[in-house]
Every structure is written in structure tokens, then in C-alpha cells.
Symmetry: C2
Subunit: 366 residues, 2 copies
């Protein structure tokens, strides 16, 4: 190296060392050196393209993450139409084929029974009660324990609010009315219904309207007015039952932990904050859409009859629920820990709900 090149090398070092300090000017002293890389992350969602509310949530997440990171995070969302596997999200993110996912934890109970508990449980917590359990009642820690085994982290992904009990062709006045009742009600709630004599029936979403109209099934649950309106069930079934089986359905964001750990700390913060904020905003949007759509339904179909199961039916369903939970607890110590954590949190949270929102709403509806 000749003298000139040595000098240039020294100057280059000086410029380089200063490039992230006073070089750019500053109100104060300079921030930590900014990483300038673009991190491209792929997210797979269970939902088809442009699915309302759920799909808006991943779009909100993408917009938040990209704008807050000034383009250093780039999120590509692949819907079901693209990856062709609505229920492949867990494996996609676990294997690293996708970095992120948006789905529902209870879909994975066949892979790991303990994923069942982080969406919504029959006779369980409302959305605000469950959010408190996740953040302050040990829920997130338990979810971390379950998902860490699979090399993933799960973060709240947005609540649908209290789901309606569903659309029925006939009134349910006693447990006898559930005997042999063919109902589309998947998952753990379906197992409870089977325990008391109903016949949970699997029907693809696209065929539900026709099945309910033609009597192939006697009843079905979907979500609530927010997503039921477009399905048209109110045109073919007279009874709309209030909810009990998913009182605060929370979706999930999934993150591949290896990928997450490879990101700079500021982008990790942005990623999880964008997930949580879009999750809370989904609950707000769900409440809005349900209010708006319920108003439309009532106006266009004033004969819809809103019903609630009688106490005798709930009592039977609760006995079945307790039996199935006890079986799960007996089989798996972590299941037992989660079930106990939820039951004990619900008790305290519900005592507060009773004297706050419930007492207020009741006093104002008299």
C-alpha cells in the first residue's frame, strides 16, 4: 500500500466512524447506530384473500410494521388462495417455510392438545376478561410454554367478540330438543354437544347456507352478525341463539422463534407491538361490524327471534364441559395447569364484570 492509499484508508475509517453520529445532524446526541437492512418476512394466513375483519387485521399489521420500521420490515401476506392450506399455518411457521402466521390456536389441538386453550373455551372468559388473563393472569406465559416446544411464539391476533350460539330451525326448550340435532359446531364445543346427544356435523363453509335451508342440518354456528350477515343464514332460519361456546374468540399471530431471534431488537419491538395493536383493533372492528350488521338484520328481517338456552340446557352442557375438561386435565399436567389457571382467573374477573359492565347494562335495559 502506498502512502496515498494509506491516508485514504485512515480517512475512510474516520468518515465511517462518524457516519452515524454528528454527520447527520442531531437535536441532541445521536441515537444508536441504525441498521439499514431490509428484512422481508412472509406471513401465511388461514383466511382467503380479502376475508373481512380477520384479513383486515393482517393488513393493519403489515401497514403498522412497515410504516413504523420505515420500510426495514417488509411483510408479504399469503392468503389461503395462495398457499392452499388453511390449516397448514402451524407447520408452515414451525418449519420456517413461513416466518409468520395468522390463524386460531385451537385448530392445532390434534398436533398439541395444549394449543386448544388459547382461543376461547365454552363457558369461559369474555374478551376483556381473557385479555386480562393473557396480559396479567399468566395466560401469555402458559401460551409461551406451549409454543416454545414447537420453536414458535404465539401473540394475541384479534377477538371476534362474544360469538352467537347460532341459527336454529326450531326452539330449544329442553335437553331433549338437542337429541339427534344435526348441527355444524366444530371443535371442543361440538364434543360437548355430542356428549348431551346432539350430532355435530361437518359441512364446508360454502355449503352451509344450502344445508341449513334444505334441512341437511338443523342448526349451525358461525361467528356473529359481523360475519354472519354475508352468509345469509338469517334468511333461512328463524331463531338466533345467544352465545355460550366461544365467549371471546381470540385469533393468534404465530412467529418462528429462530427468525424472530435473528431480528434487531427494535424490529422485534415493532413486530410484537404491531401484532398486539392490530389484535386490539380487530376486537374494536368486530364490535363495530356486529353492531352495524345486527341493525341491518333486524331492519330487513324484523321476525328474527333472539333466544337463550334455558338454564336446564346450560346445566347439562356444563356438566359435559366439566367432564371433558377433567379428562384432559387427567391426561396431561400442562393441560391441568392451564385449565386451573383459567378457572381461577375467570372466577375473580367475573365477580368484577358482575358489578361493572353487567350491572350497568342490566340497570339501563330495564
Amino acid at each position: 500500500m502506498n502512502k496515498l492509499m494509506q491516508l485514504l484508508a485512515v480517512i475512510t475509517l474516520i468518515i465511517s466512524a462518524n457516519a452515524n453520529a454528528s454527520w447527520f445532524g442531531s437535536d441532541d446526541k445521536p441515537a444508536a447506530k441504525q441498521d439499514n437492512k431490509v428484512y422481508s418476512l412472509k406471513l401465511a394466513e388461514t383466511w382467503p384473500s380479502n376475508f373481512p375483519i380477520f384479513g383486515d387485521t393482517t393488513k393493519n399489521f403489515k401497514q403498522l410494521a412497515e410504516s413504523m420500521s420505515n420500510g426495514r420490515l417488509k411483510i408479504r401476506i399469503d392468503s389461503k388462495n395462495k398457499h392452499k392450506s388453511a390449516l397448514g399455518i402451524f407447520d408452515f411457521v414451525k418449519s420456517g417455510q413461513y416466518d409468520l402466521g395468522h390463524s386460531g390456536s385451537y385448530y392445532w389441538k390434534g398436533k398439541d392438545i395444549n394449543t386448544l386453550f388459547f382461543t376461547s373455551m365454552p363457558f369461559g372468559m369474555t374478551t376483556s376478561e381473557q385479555h386480562a388473563w393473557f396480559e396479567y393472569g399468566g395466560g401469555q406465559q402458559l401460551m409461551d410454554k406451549v409454543y416454545a416446544k414447537h420453536g414458535m411464539k404465539s401473540i394475541i391476533g384479534g377477538s371476534t367478540g362474544n360469538q352467537m350460539g347460532g341459527w336454529f330451525q326450531k326452539e330449544i326448550n329442553s335437553i331433549e330438543d338437542l337429541q339427534g340435532l344435526k348441527m355444524r359446531i366444530p371443535g371442543f364445543a361440538g364434543e360437548i354437544m355430542a356428549e348431551v346427544g346432539a350430532k355435530p356435523t361437518n359441512v364446508p363453509a360454502g355449503e352451509l347456507y344450502t344445508a341449513l335451508d334444505r334441512g341437511t342440518i338443523d342448526a349451525l354456528e358461525w361467528v356473529g352478525p359481523s360475519l354472519d350477515l354475508r352468509m345469509g343464514f338469517h334468511k333461512v332460519a328463524p331463531y338466533y341463539y345467544t352465545g355460550w361456546h366461544e365467549p371471546g374468540t381470540e385469533l393468534q399471530f404465530l412467529i418462528n422463534l429462530k427468525k424472530y431471534n435473528s431480528l434487531p431488537a427494535d424490529l422485534q419491538s415493532i413486530l410484537t407491538a404491531a401484532m398486539k395493536l392490530s389484535a386490539y383493533q380487530m376486537y374494536v372492528q368486530s364490535e363495530h361490524e356486529s353492531a352495524k350488521n345486527w341493525s341491518t338484520m333486524k331492519k330487513d328481517f324484523p321476525n328474527i327471534k333472539v333466544k337463550t338456552f334455558p338454564k336446564s340446557v346450560f346445566d347439562a352442557l356444563k356438566i359435559a364441559n366439566e367432564k371433558l375438561l377433567a379428562e384432559l386435565a387427567a391426561k396431561n399436567p400442562l393441560s391441568k395447569e392451564i385449565i386451573q389457571s383459567q378457572a381461577s382467573y375467570l372466577k375473580k374477573a367475573r365477580a368484577w364484570s358482575a358489578i361493572s359492565d353487567q350491572a350497568y347494562l342490566n340497570s339501563q335495559s330495564k
Copy 2:
């Protein structure tokens, strides 16, 4: 300039041009050029240092904003102890003496009557209903209209949840029982109480316990178990009334608009997202603390009697409420617009609450 210096200048330009591109390496193509300045923002809050929940919210906001910006945002929080003016926040932020504030919108009704409507209104929306109004029912746009006049932006700052009606020394069985009742109940709810014959009485926070104990006042409202427990009111009054006057009290973040507009777009996104996320998290924390503290109160003082005003009392209070709202609407067209927006949104949102959370909670408490 000699030849060597010219050469150095050219090299410097080349290095500078490349400093934000391939220089740092990249997964993909480089992000937009990152601004490296530190922006120091000062936030004034109404609360004293380390005030629970409310003060945690500004700490959460600071932590989120600083970590997501990798230190490019630096937030200094001044509590009441420092700036000495709990109710000076509006003027601090309007004048630019502080960049940000954390307070309650209804404190500013003497400065601009239309700030009254963005905290919680008697017989108004619950927290989830009001969040939906802010985000999807035109609430944020109306709040923007009100605050833009003062060169500020207001963002949701966290909900206390449904506030309890307060601690009473005697039962309220009829509107006669409110005649001459000395009660600490500030603001618009206090005006309603005065309309029906009660005597709203101003007592500094630090003297409330003694005033209630010695009979200087007959009743008081504070927040709910989340913040009432530490005040000890349950030790000196037997009746805890359920709420009606602040069904979903939302605090506010204030931003000086000129300062906000001077920030880079990514830091604007980070700032508002950190505010909204810490606001939603405050609601979650409030629900948790209320559940926990209500459990403690009931255990230590099993004789606390939870009561709800009878319908005849609510009817009289509602007539007074409607009268005062009509007076506000008649005086100010923007007040009228906000009052109508809230009333019409509440009607739709409440019809949904009735068949979702309310129906579920009622069916499960039978």
C-alpha cells in the same frame, strides 16, 4: 484546493452515497435512508409520580416509543410533582411548553365545552362500545375537529373500565334520599346530581377518606376497585353503588400538532401506535386490577353491600341528563353534532351488547 484534497472530496462523496445502501449489507434491497437524529419529546401528565395504572400507561408508552425507534425518540415524563400543575396539561401542550400530554379530555370543558364529550358521559357507552365509536363511528374525527382548533391532536389514552357509582353511608331507595346529599362527584355528573337535589361537594383527594369517615360528606365516587382499594373508603362506608356516570372513562394523550408535523413519518407512526397500544393495555390492566382488588376487598370486608340505584332514581337522573345535554346542544352546533353522534352510535352498539356480552353474562349468573 490541491489535487489530493479534490480526490479526498470525491471519495468522501462516493462513501457518503453508499453509506445507506449496500454498505451495511442487506437481505434484499436497501430500505429508505434512515434518519439518525434523536428527537427528545417532553410529556406532562396530570398524575403524581408513580400513580398506579395511569402512570404505568405513560411509562409503557415511553418504553414502546423508545424501543421501537431504537432510541431515536427520547421521551421525558414530567409528573405533577415536577410541573406542579395537574390541570395545566392542555395549556402546556397547546403552547408547546410540552410536546405531549397525558390527562383527561373532560378537564378542559372550561376552555372549550366540546372537549367534555371524549372521556365518558353519564348513561353513555361502555369501554368497548366507545372504542368502536372512536375508531369506526366518527369519534376520532370529531375529537380531531375539536382539538385542531387548539393546534393539538388527542388520541385515546386508556380506559379505567366501568367506574363504580361510589361509596355511600346510607342506602338510596328513592330520589328523596338524594335531597341535600353531600357527595364528592365532580364534572357533568355532579351537575346532574345537583339538578335532582344533591349537593356536589369539592374535597381534595387527600382529604376524602377523612371527610367520608367524619360525615363532612355523605358519599363520594372515585374510580373502582382498581384505584379505590388504596384509598380505604371501604373501611368507612358500607354501600358500594354500581356505576352510571362514567361507564367507560377514557384518558387522553395530547400531541402538539406543530411538533408532530415536524417529525419524520416513521416516528409519527411509532408515536401514535405506542399511544394506542398503551391505551388499550391500560384498559386490560384496569380490568385486571379491579378484579384483583375487588377480590381482596370482599375477603377482608365481607360486609360491603353492593347496590344499584332503583329505576325511579335512574329515571330522574336521566331526565336531568337529557335536559343538560339539550342545553349544551342548543348553545353550540358542534356540541349538538357530537351529542347526536354518540346517541345514535350508542343505540346500535347497545343492541349488540344486549345479545352478546350482556346475554352471556346474565345466562351464566343465573
